[in-house]
Structure formats: structure tokens, C-alpha cells
């Protein structure tokens, strides 16, 4: 009994579905084959437009305005008789033209944050990539044993959560932290890691290098393993020394990978945020505040200066793009 009834229900449901489908096909506008294709890929573009394109465009738009609080009313509405859709006004804005950009020129903290970021970048990226390359070459050498274990150990830091590892660095490098304890054991005076401008920047550089060296090493190692062995053999037959093999075989062959690593690291360090935010909070005396941290503070700490923060963001993106393009142009030349 029970099974029969459920089968009936099932049939009724199926009929309903078929009926609904018929009605839908009858009502829906006909679409051509190519239109179907567009329809099927449209979700991506809708999401892309909503969550990427719109924010980017709106950021540029905002950079010409002064933010004056959240929007109170509605921008416009569409009335369909039975229901209506309203589009709320996002924010109260006042047009200031290029005001936000000219303000930047005279903003000492902006320049300070640019200086800090550049300082960290110029020291950190070469050290990290040099280190990563050295480690990759060492691990690529045929005589090294337990390669897998070393590789894993060196690459592991990248899996650490940024805030978690930054907090550990904060504890280690504290005035009374473990690092200073170790120094005192070998008779060195404790160092004010976080209270001196010089050392605070070095601490940040150390932290970032610790986390990302292994990651870059893995990429470089993959690049090294792609270099055909016969090139080295040919160089050896020509009597090349170890340095010459590195200079004239490894480096040119590794160039695209090296370029990739340099560009990625430069962008990564330029948009540094979490480490200084957690370890030094931008201090001491704003010596480690980075450009992204400054944008964050203008936008979300204290009174919201979303217009100015947007202008800073536009400039920031422009600088990062310029550096990346320059690097690719310079590095890509044969």
C-alpha cells in the first residue's frame, strides 16, 4: 500500500514537473546556441563584476571624493507595480577632485610609510632570494643526502599562519624574550629589538624572510631541475669552472623562474601588512608602518577616511604595477 501510494505521488510530482517545464519553455525567450554559451559562462562574469570589477572601479571613483558617512537614502528605485527594487546610496560623498592626491604630497606619514616599505623591500628581497637560491643549489647537488627531509623542513614555515607566527616572533623578540635570553647567555647585552627603529625593521625583515625563503627555494629548485644535464656536461668538456658553470649555464637557464620569484617577492613584500601590524604595530615611532598598514588605518581606524584611503590605494597599485613591469622588461631582455 504504502509503496504504491508513494509511487503515485512520485508520478504526480513528475507530471507536475513536466508541466512546469513545458510552461517554462513556452514562456522563456528562445535562445540561440551561442547565447546558451554566454548564458553558461555568465555566472563567472556576474561574480567577477560584483566582487572584483565593481570594487576596483568604485575605489578609483572614491579617490576623488571625501567620505562623509554612510548613505542615508536610496540612490534610485525601479517600481514593478507589485514590488519594487531599491538601490541604496552607498555613502555620502563630497567631490574634492584631485584633493586626496595633492594631500598625499604633503603627508609626512605617507612618505614615512613609503620609506619604510622601500627600506624593508630593498634589504629583504635580495637577502631572501639569495638565500633561497643558495639553498636550492645546495639541495640540488647530487651528493646531498636526505634531500626530502631538508626540503620539507625549509619549506615548512610557509604553512604557518601569518598572525600566529608573527605573534611567536613578537614573544621571541620581546625586551625580556627568548632571543635576548640567548644573547645574555653568550655575554651580549640585550638588544631592544622592538623599541629601536633600526632593530624593529630588522626584526620584520627577519620574520618575513623566515617565512618565505622556503617557498621561493622550492620554486627555484624546480627551475634548477629543469636545466638539461648535458649543458653542464658540455661546459665541463669546455673546461668551465664551478663558478663559470653557475654564471653561464645556471643563471641564464634559470632566468624566467628567477624573474618570476623576484616579481612575486617584490609585490609580496611591498604589500606587507600582517607582520608589522602584529609584531611592532607600526612602531616604534612609526618606523615600521607600511603603506598597506597606513591605508588600513586611514580607512578603518578612527574616523573613516575612505576617500583618502582609496587614493592611497590607487597610488599603491600604480607603484606596484610600475615596479613589476620594469622588472619584467629588464629581466626579460635577452
Amino acid at each position: 500500500m504504502a509503496t504504491k501510494r508513494s509511487r503515485d505521488d512520485h508520478l504526480v510530482l513528475w507530471d507536475r514537473f513536466r508541466y512546469a517545464r513545458q510552461r517554462l519553455t513556452a514562456v522563456a525567450p528562445s535562445v540561440t546556441k551561442s547565447q546558451v554559451a554566454y548564458l553558461l559562462i555568465s555566472p563567472f562574469f556576474v561574480l567577477f563584476g560584483l566582487f572584483l570589477l565593481f570594487p576596483v572601479v568604485y575605489t578609483v571613483y572614491l579617490s576623488f571624493f571625501e567620505y562623509q558617512g554612510i548613505g542615508q537614502g536610496n540612490l534610485f528605485y525601479v517600481d514593478f507595480g507589485l514590488f519594487h527594487i531599491t538601490f541604496p546610496q552607498i555613502a555620502e560623498l563630497q567631490f574634492v577632485g584631485l584633493g586626496n592626491y595633492t594631500r598625499m604630497l604633503g603627508d609626512s606619514l605617507f612618505w614615512q610609510s613609503m620609506y619604510n616599505t622601500t627600506y624593508i623591500l630593498v634589504i629583504q628581497v635580495p637577502i631572501m632570494i639569495g638565500l633561497a637560491l643558495a639553498l636550492a643549489i645546495a639541495l640540488n647537488a647530487s651528493f646531498v643526502r636526505f634531500k626530502g627531509a631538508f626540503r620539507t623542513a625549509i619549506a615548512l614555515p610557509v604553512s604557518a599562519n601569518i598572525v600566529a607566527y608573527s605573534t611567536i616572533f613578537l614573544i621571541l623578540f620581546n625586551e625580556t624574550g627568548f632571543i635576548n635570553y640567548l644573547l645574555s647567555q653568550v655575554g651580549i647585552e640585550p638588544i631592544s629589538w622592538l623599541r629601536s627603529e633600526f632593530w624593529a625593521r630588522k626584526t620584520i625583515i627577519g620574520a618575513v624572510t623566515w617565512r618565505w625563503t622556503g617557498y621561493n627555494m622550492i620554486i627555484l629548485l624546480a627551475g634548477l631541475q629543469n636545466i638539461p644535464q648535458q649543458l653542464y656536461e658540455a661546459a665541463e668538456i669546455d673546461g668551465a669552472s664551478r663558478w663559470e658553470k653557475f654564471r653561464y649555464v645556471t643563471v641564464p637557464q634559470l632566468r624566467p623562474v628567477l624573474l618570476f620569484v623576484v616579481v612575486l617577492s617584490t609585490i609580496g613584500t611591498f604589500k606587507l601588512f600582517a607582520e608589522p601590524y602584529v609584531i611592532t604595530d607600526g612602531g616604534p615611532t612609526n618606523a615600521t608602518i607600511t603603506i598597506v598598514q597606513y591605508i588600513y588605518e586611514e580607512a578603518f581606524v578612527g574616523s573613516p577616511n575612505l576617500g583618502y584611503a582609496s587614493a592611497l590605494t590607487v597610488i599603491f597599485v600604480a607603484i606596484v604595477s610600475a615596479i613589476s613591469i620594469a622588472q619584467i622588461k629588464l629581466g626579460g631582455e635577452e
Partner: protein, 453 residues
């Protein structure tokens, strides 16, 4: 097949025509709000719901706070739910987590709780978002303004409108370890000025600090003294005034105490800092009434060893009352009318009734901004075990009634930043106090586009 096609066509024409017709008839697209009877466009955030008797109160509201403050709101919520037929859900956060989350929901225009905690120092910045409901008319109708300490309102107001109700305040005092003072012959009663404070502190052996100077919170140290001497960071005309004679004197005092070697310099609230007080390596703690709750919770072993005296004056006979910290409760602008009615009802129940304020004070040490509570001798003259029998609450209440008014502004973060950095440099690099204070003022002027007073 043809039949089908014609049906397509007919239906499409019909639907298209119908929708076009409705759009045309309804006037379709417009600006502003389609509901004409709404008071949209007046630019008045108050809404006309302060005559909200005709709006029915919602059954449930969400309340946000952090740490001890959230726990104390749970107390009043329980009492409220027993009394009224409504649910009040209190959610507890960490301080930074809540500030960030709340800010994003306020500026996004949706998702905010019905009642939220608002620290007084953040008052002007949050009000500036335009997302906090104007409570002026409600406060006037309820007639509760005079029930609160007058100094507590300033940071919750903008252009004559009030946006939050004061909750707790932080009358200042120096907490001291009675046992340490006794062991080394220090006399708390002999301390009237910072010079006396230093003199007494020098009696301590080298491994015990008289007090801690939190080098990460020098602006807090500076601010309570700046207020103690009756100053405000900006003049009536909006000029920067953090470099006046009082400010220089405060910087000199801090430097003198630091250089005398009687102070430790741990970061405030750090592990070392708590350890220092827990293990008796630091003898005194200039702070505010709310510190009692923290000490009771974090260093329970020290209960009974503490005493309080008023913060020292800068010159003999000078003022010894100020305020450090404090918070309020506000209602976001975005919530529905029903929720707003309930939120207001719960908010006044928690903050404007003596019973609830005293409950929170007793349980969690949040010193009431509700001045009428101070008349309750039973509570305020109680001899407290934590203070070895000292009726400390009376001291705090006296300080609260004497403390000068102070006003935070949207530019407060710039002042904090500049003062903190420059006083830090003054201590670390042995810089001249007057020069540092001047530089700090110039920095604030530059970053806020203001003039120097």
C-alpha cells in the same frame, strides 16, 4: 511546430506589453525612496520615532560588548528578561575584534547589533560615520541627562546632539601594594605631589620599581594628567593645544620620574607587566577605577594587599582628580523601529537605573557614570576586603565629581599617535620634553590641517 512558435510570440508580446505597461503606469524609475510617507531626505537622522509609543517593541534584541563589560551586560539582560517579556542576547567579543566587526557593519549599513558598546575615546569617530542613532529627543523625554556625571557626556555629542548613554567612567587613583609600602617604610599619606611620589619611591630597593611607565601607552599617561590640569587638546576654535605649559610640565614630570630610575618600563598589559605586579616587583599603579576588576580577575592572590590614593598633583595644592577611560552604549541607526524601541528600553534599564549600575559595579568593577548612585552610602562607604578595609569607592566617587570635563574628537587618534611617539623618543633618546611636545603638536597640526594655538 508553427503552433508552438506563434504561442511563443503571443506570450512574449503579452508579457512584454504587460510589464512595459506596469512600468509606465507606476512611474517606474525614480530617485529616493518609493515609500513617500517616509521622512526620507530631511537629513535628520533622528527619525520621527522618538514618539515611538505607537511602535511595538521587538521581542528580541542583540547586544554586543567585550570582555568584562559584556559579562556585566549579561547580568542586566538576565534581570531585564525576568521583568519583561523579551529576549536580550548578549554577545561577548575581544575588544579589537568587536571594534573592527562593528565598524564594518556600521559602514556597510546592515548587520549591526541593536545595542553596542562604544568606548568614549572612540565616540566622535563612530558618530562621524553617520551610522549611530541620534538619541537627543529620547534623552530629553526621559529627563536623565542630569543623573549622569557631567564630564561623561562631552565625547558622545556632536553639534548639540547626543548619540550614546554614558555607562562607566574611570576616576583615577594610584593603586599601591600595602605590603610592599609597609615593608620598606613608604608612607602613602605623605604623597601629595609627584615629587613626593618620587621621594617615597627612592626608599625602595633596586629590584622593586615604584611604578611602571607603559612605553606603549604614554598617551594614556599623558592624557589623564593633561585632563587633571583642566586642559583640552583643541581650543574652542579648533586649534591644536597640546604644547601648552601644562603639557610641557607633564612631559617633564614623566621624564623626571623615568630618569630617576624608580620606574620600570614594561608595555602595559603585557605578560611581564602582570608578572611584575603579581610578584611584587612593582609597588604602585596609577590607573582608574576599572583596574580593580582586572586586578581581581588576573591577580587574585594579591587581593587584600591593595590600597588606593589620589593621583599626585604636579604642584603642592594642585588638583588631584582626573579620568582615564570609560564607555557608553549606543544604538545603530540602521536597525528597525521595533528593535530600536526595545533597545532603548533595555539601554535605559541597564544604564539609567541605580540598581543595575550598582549591580555591574559590584560584580565587575565598572564604575557607574550614573551620579545618583553615589548617594548610596551602603555601597560606596563599604569597607572592602580587596583594599584591606579601605572604603575605596568613596574615593573614586569624590574624584568622579571633581574631574574636569574632557572632549575627545575625531582627531584624537592623531593626538594619541603623536604624543605616544614623541614622549617615547623623549624617554628613549633623552630628548628635551619641551621640544618633543612642540614637535608632537606640529605633527598633529600638519596631519589634521589645523593651526597651532
Amino acid at each position: 511546430m508553427p503552433r508552438k512558435n506563434t504561442m511563443y510570440g503571443r506570450r512574449r508580446v503579452l508579457i512584454g506589453g504587460a510589464s512595459a505597461g506596469t512600468l509606465a503606469l507606476a512611474g517606474c524609475i525614480g530617485t529616493g525612496d518609493p515609500e513617500e510617507d517616509d521622512d526620507e531626505g530631511t537629513g535628520d537622522d533622528t527619525d520621527d520615532d522618538s514618539n515611538g509609543e505607537d511602535v511595538e517593541m521587538a521581542d528580541q534584541i542583540d547586544v554586543w560588548g567585550w570582555d568584562v563589560a559584556a559579562r556585566s551586560l549579561e547580568l542586566t539582560a538576565d534581570a531585564y528578561m525576568e521583568e519583561y517579556d523579551a529576549t536580550v542576547d548578549v554577545e561577548e567579543f575581544g575588544q579589537d575584534a568587536m571594534k573592527e566587526d562593528l565598524r564594518s557593519r556600521l559602514t556597510a549599513g546592515s548587520g549591526a547589533p541593536d545595542v553596542a558598546m562604544l568606548e568614549m575615546i572612540d565616540g566622535p569617530a563612530e558618530i562621524d560615520t553617520g551610522a549611530v542613532a541620534d538619541l537627543t529627543d529620547r534623552i530629553d523625554d526621559a529627563g536623565i541627562e542630569d543623573d549622569f556625571v557631567s564630564g561623561a557626556w562631552a565625547s558622545l555629542q556632536e553639534d548639540g546632539a547626543t548619540y550614546a548613554i554614558p555607562w562607566d567612567i574611570g576616576p583615577t587613583a594610584v593603586y599601591y601594594r600595602r605590603d610592599i609600602y609597609e615593608d620598606h617604610g613608604l608612607d602613602a599619606d605623605a604623597i601629595e605631589t609627584w615629587d613626593d611620589f618620587q621621594e617615597e619611591g627612592e626608599k625602595l630597593p633596586d629590584d622593586i620599581a615604584m611604578f611602571n611607565i607603559p612605553v606603549n601607552d604614554l598617551d594614556g599617561v599623558w592624557r589623564f594628567q593633561f585632563r587633571q590640569l583642566g586642559n583640552r587638546p583643541f581650543t574652542e576654535d579648533g586649534e591644536v593645544n597640546i604644547h601648552n605649559d601644562d603639557s610641557v610640565m607633564i612631559a617633564e614630570t614623566i621624564k623626571q620620574l623615568y630618569d630617576s630610575g624608580i620606574a620600570s618600563d614594561y608595555d602595559g598589559w603585557s605578560t611581564e607587566w602582570f608578572n611584575g605586579y603579581g610578584e611584587g616587583e612593582i609597588a604602585s599603579l596609577p590607573s582608574a577605577a576599572w583596574m580593580e576588576g582586572t586586578l581581581r580577575a588576573e591577580l587574585p592572590d594579591t587581593a587584600g594587599n591593595w590600597g588606593v590614593y589620589r593621583i599626585p598633583a604636579h604642584e603642592a595644592g594642585g588638583p588631584r582628580a582626573s579620568n582615564w577611560g570609560g564607555s557608553s552604549l549606543m544604538i545603530p541607526e540602521q536597525i528597525e523601529d521595533g528593535e530600536r524601541e526595545r533597545a532603548w528600553d533595555y539601554l535605559t534599564w541597564s544604564l539609567a537605573t541605580e540598581e543595575m549600575q550598582l549591580l555591574m559595579y559590584d560584580e565587575y568593577g565598572l564604575f557607574p557614570a550614573l551620579e545618583t548612585t553615589y548617594d548610596n552610602d551602603e555601597v560606596f562607604d563599604e569597607e572592602l576586603d580587596f583594599y584591606d578595609g579601605q572604603p575605596a569607592r568613596r574615593l573614586f566617587a569624590d574624584v568622579a565629581e571633581e574631574m574636569p570635563e574632557y572632549q575627545f574628537s575625531i582627531d584624537t587618534p592623531y593626538v594619541s599617535d603623536a604624543i605616544n611617539n614623541h614622549l617615547f623618543r623623549m624617554l628613549r633618546d633623552d630628548e628635551d620634553p619641551e621640544e618633543m611636545v612642540m614637535e608632537a603638536a606640529e605633527e598633529v597640526a600638519e596631519r589634521t590641517g589645523r593651526d597651532l594655538a
